[in-house]
Symmetry: C2
Subunit: 349 residues, 2 copies
Amino acid sequence: MRIALDCMGGDRGPEDLVAGAVQAVSETDLNVILFGDQKKLAASLKGHPVRAMGRIEIVPTTEVVGMDESPIEAIRRKRDSSIVVAFERLKSGEVDAVVSAGNSGATMAAAVRSLGRLDKIARPGIASIFPTLKKPVVMMDVGANVDCRPKHLFQFGLMAAAFSEGIIGNDRPRVGVLSIGEEQGKGNALVRKTDQLFRDSTLNYVGNIEASTTFKGDVDVIVCDGFVGNVSLKISEGLAEAMTVMLRTEINNSLPAKLGYLLSRGAFARFKKRIDYAEYGGAPLLGLKGTGIVCHGRSSAVAIKNAIFVAAEAVHNRVNDRIMELVAQSGDPADHDFPDDEYNQSGAA
Amino acid sequence: MRIALDCMGGDRGPEDLVAGAVQAVSETDLNVILFGDQKKLAASLKGHPVRAMGRIEIVPTTEVVGMDESPIEAIRRKRDSSIVVAFERLKSGEVDAVVSAGNSGATMAAAVRSLGRLDKIARPGIASIFPTLKKPVVMMDVGANVDCRPKHLFQFGLMAAAFSEGIIGNDRPRVGVLSIGEEQGKGNALVRKTDQLFRDSTLNYVGNIEASTTFKGDVDVIVCDGFVGNVSLKISEGLAEAMTVMLRTEINNSLPAKLGYLLSRGAFARFKKRIDYAEYGGAPLLGLKGTGIVCHGRSSAVAIKNAIFVAAEAVHNRVNDRIMELVAQSGDPADHDFPDDEYNQSGAA
């Protein structure tokens, strides 16, 4: 298995990415192909013993897509950028999957252009795996599709369920739609119309889930549009950071608390690791004829290693084949009754 | 000033509500009128010395709207429920504001029916005040309007700004629209179309704010539709709870950490208080001809006291007059160019 790693994206330079690749090949029999500046990558590899093992290669590229560039335009213009070349090599079969910590919009755009959508998938999207009090949960979409129809949400649920089966190992993943209350009928027009599509399907649908239960781990798949999903993830990241700052401030304000912290810092470190999204292996692009994973721009070496493992698992466990099976089972769900005139009506109150 | 307190809503019975009322009159010269079951309220008041002070009264009511009842129907049927009677008394001028810890949809429905909307306000809504690393921020809407037009979001910003002025004391509150990126043009169709209305206004508009910065306190008002706002609040609540459980588990798993916790528990208690939404005085209903506040169903006595104070401040500082001023300044913002056909287009990627 050969996993491509785009080493030019991200906020921290290629060192952590290369270190993640080295860890990945050290712990498995995977091959990792690094895409990016030949000189920089060769320099980053120095000192790592495993290169001699011959399971890390470099494919030199000359261009870089920046984190703030407009995705579509950058992809069109920068034909020799690491992300574009990586997906071209995936299309031609020279690698089996692509992992990137770069501009997620550009990664999606390059993936869509090179690979194309899976048959009958209306909208590819980005999923996210995050920790809960029980098992990790898969949320989709988390940013690729900000305005959606019911059919899109339904297919997000279907794709995320296939991913949950293949990667988390859930047999009949429980699928819920993120809403403002658990009762059927709660939610905005989009959520209310999506409900019936799931009820008519073979998926293990549990109905609406209230956002406050997101981290309890009572479902395996959380479905939402890309705007709500992106806001949800980022607000959670922001709150986790703010809570850490507040707790540190409170502890620093008192001498006994400082002593206490010294005694409990091991527990704090494990706690920090437990809530660290970076540990969870990145965000898979689903709905494409191929396997791609986007990681956080500040990903650590461990996060990159985990993303490489998730990519390899997705290929090995044929997640895309399973998506196609579920699509075939579900037929072509009709959402023609999603009228424009419902768009602007009030729901609650 | 006479504040009505609906004592029959909430998840915990009238004791905490009555205790909050007692605290409020003890610390100020406010009057609080309790609405609910005469016997239960008289029993709850026993032992509290202040009744003798004559600034707490009971208005007996015979019906109760449950937390799970359908708002509109319950309000129509239960004419002698505490929440309906409280708002009727507000309409007739016998009280100056209403505070409830009951069914928020029913509270909104009763308020709309008794008071009516402020002139030119298309959609009344529910705001929320929550803590950040700096000053508290006001978010609106957090659940009353799940499907919105740009004009509605614009008016949420305007109403929340008036509230931020009157209650938090911000002179020119900074108003931002919750989105998936700070750059102009990021967001779903609704957010993108709302942007121009704010740019054309006299408000201190700072553009999009990314959800990850929500708790940094860099803006004073966060605008969103009621679906996104409700999901954001509830996911934050859920995460804060889950993080607390995870941290406790880590600490319980180690003896030194347990000792450490004993030393630092004061800091933990202050931290818990700092992130406790209940401390922040409830969620104001804005856009109505009168002042109403909804509190969490599990509100403590302190939370109820704070909500009573916020209600009194809102009346005293004429928040509704200020809303009308801002509405007059803004004219009637046009959002006719919010076409139905944009609804289902993809934004990012």
